[in-house]
Symmetry: C2
Subunit: 300 residues, 2 copies
């Protein structure tokens, strides 16, 4: 496994791969890899001749009061996991290498960034758009792999790829969970033992919502209220948002809309703070499937 710390090294190694006609899969990460990342790495390796992991904690996607300084790092462990997953090349640049001077170019993606983490973390997705487009230009992958835990990030990147005609296929991958349901996240290490116990409420709420949204007369507003109520009852966590939106456009629904009349995919997205640690999770509810099934039942 090759480790490149400069753009020049990366370019050199990749041009060898491309000359040999090999397809390339990229997994962009901020490091401190867990089994969720490992599932992306293994899939990138399976579906491409060569798999590239990038590890870069991108300062431009952190707000001034966010956790940039204390974001967890463990380079040696990351390299070991990458090797175990069959990664061919790791790109691990320093901040100075990625941003030799203050960039004057911004990539701003509107609408899909106006709610959820885009609203809670102003500027976050501008930073994500910039760094992901840089990584796409540096690596020029055929496919890039992102976890659905950051579903809004997937929606934002797909929008950018379509709008800019970026020559890469975005592959959204399912969220990987602990045995009790907690979505894997590098930020889980911040949790105290008690917070860790309570954090299961996110996945628990999503699981229940998959039942609730099929109840007759259930509306968008009622489902949100039920989910928020459950989180507030079951934990000391503070809700940042509980939202039900169309996916991937991320547009809100009228609160009185009966879900039985809907079609297409919705996302139920949660962000809850435990102390200073903010956790997110989400599930996709496919109304076409549910209401299609319901219609079939009526006919029988």
């Amino acid at each position: 496994m090759l480790v490149c710390r400069t753009k020049a090294e990366l370019k050199r190694e990749l041009s060898e791969l491309r000359k040999a006609g090999k397809s390339v899969g990229l997994v962009p990460t901020m490091g401190y890899l867990h089994d969720g990342h490992a599932s992306l790495l293994r899939r990138a390796k399976e579906e491409n001749d060569a798999a590239v992991l990038s590890v870069f904690i991108n300062p431009m996607q952190f707000g001034p009061n966010e956790d940039l300084d204390r974001y967890p790092r463990d380079e040696q462990r990351d390299l070991k996991l990458a090797e175990q997953c069959g990664i061919d090349l790791v790109f691990m640049p320093a901040v100075q290498e990625m941003y030799p001077s203050k960039p004057l170019t911004s990539i701003i993606i509107s609408q899909v960034t106006s709610r959820l983490c885009g609203a809670s973390r102003p500027g976050h997705f501008d930073g994500v758009g910039l760094v992901v487009s840089k990584l796409f230009h540096l690596v020029q992958p055929d496919r890039a792999y992102f976890g659905m835990k950051d579903a809004q990030q997937v929606a934002v990147i797909e929008q950018m790829v379509n709008d800019l005609d970026l020559p890469v296929e975005i592959i959204p991958c399912p969220t990987v969970r602990e045995p009790d349901g907690l979505a894997l996240s590098s930020r889980n290490v911040y949790l105290t033992a008690q917070q860790r116990q309570q954090a299961v409420v996110l996945s628990q709420t999503l699981k229940r919502a998959e039942q609730w949204h099929q109840e007759p007369q259930m509306t968008a507003g009622a489902l949100i209220a039920k989910a928020a109520g459950h989180i507030e009852e079951a934990t000391e966590g503070t809700i940042d948002y509980v939202e039900l939106l169309t996916f991937p456009a991320l547009e809100p629904l009228h609160p009185d809309m009966p879900l039985s009349e809907g079609s297409g995919r919705l996302i139920l997205a949660l962000a809850v703070k435990f102390g200073t640690t903010r956790l997110i999770d989400n599930c996709i509810l496919d109304l076409s499937e549910v209401n299609g099934n319901a219609a079939n039942h009526d006919e029988v």
Copy 2:
């Protein structure tokens, strides 16, 4: 010569070229080609295995009161000229093909766009950044060729390429002129016979400025005043701007700065309106060269 009107066709043809290991040069244009474009096309062909011309009048870089609707077009003549210059592939998409839906992604380049045409034409360079990045992603050229008549465009695109790590080399090419000095431009066809005669004032002013800026005690402010004075005296054109800036950063100088104390490259940039037709022109003044020479003279 191949003519592709869809992204899918373009992708197919380019993948053949790339499989064969051929280098690609791109000349992005809005069509209605003149000898200035022809010089770019010939150079792209000389320096690359395959040369691609794109012809697309990009609505997103025109303001609401600009000349989008009357911008001149002549597809057949463009194709003939391209063929004469040895172009291998022409990409000529319709607006609907380039923008199948309203893009939600903006590329905004700050600072280098704050003056000159960036100030006179708000949003213009956002549109340029978007369409050029789309063309770079679609064609993936090794080199892209731009005329120095649009010097700010060159500066803006170089900034974007650096900030986004776009894998393309930008080749700025000298302005091509009529025998009397008028810079070639597709917009010259708008000029009446009298305006055409007066339009020579732009290149004439630049030529004189190449002498004026070497005069002892000449300052930035005095050079601008002299250039503006000359334009006002010699024509009925209305000055949009006369500016002297550093190049390529496009930062202003203190008006009292003696040019003999300066170093590096400056741009003297002019925009003058004749009736409803706005013409631009510019020259690069290399102070290091001039002041370097002056120092040598003193020593002799």
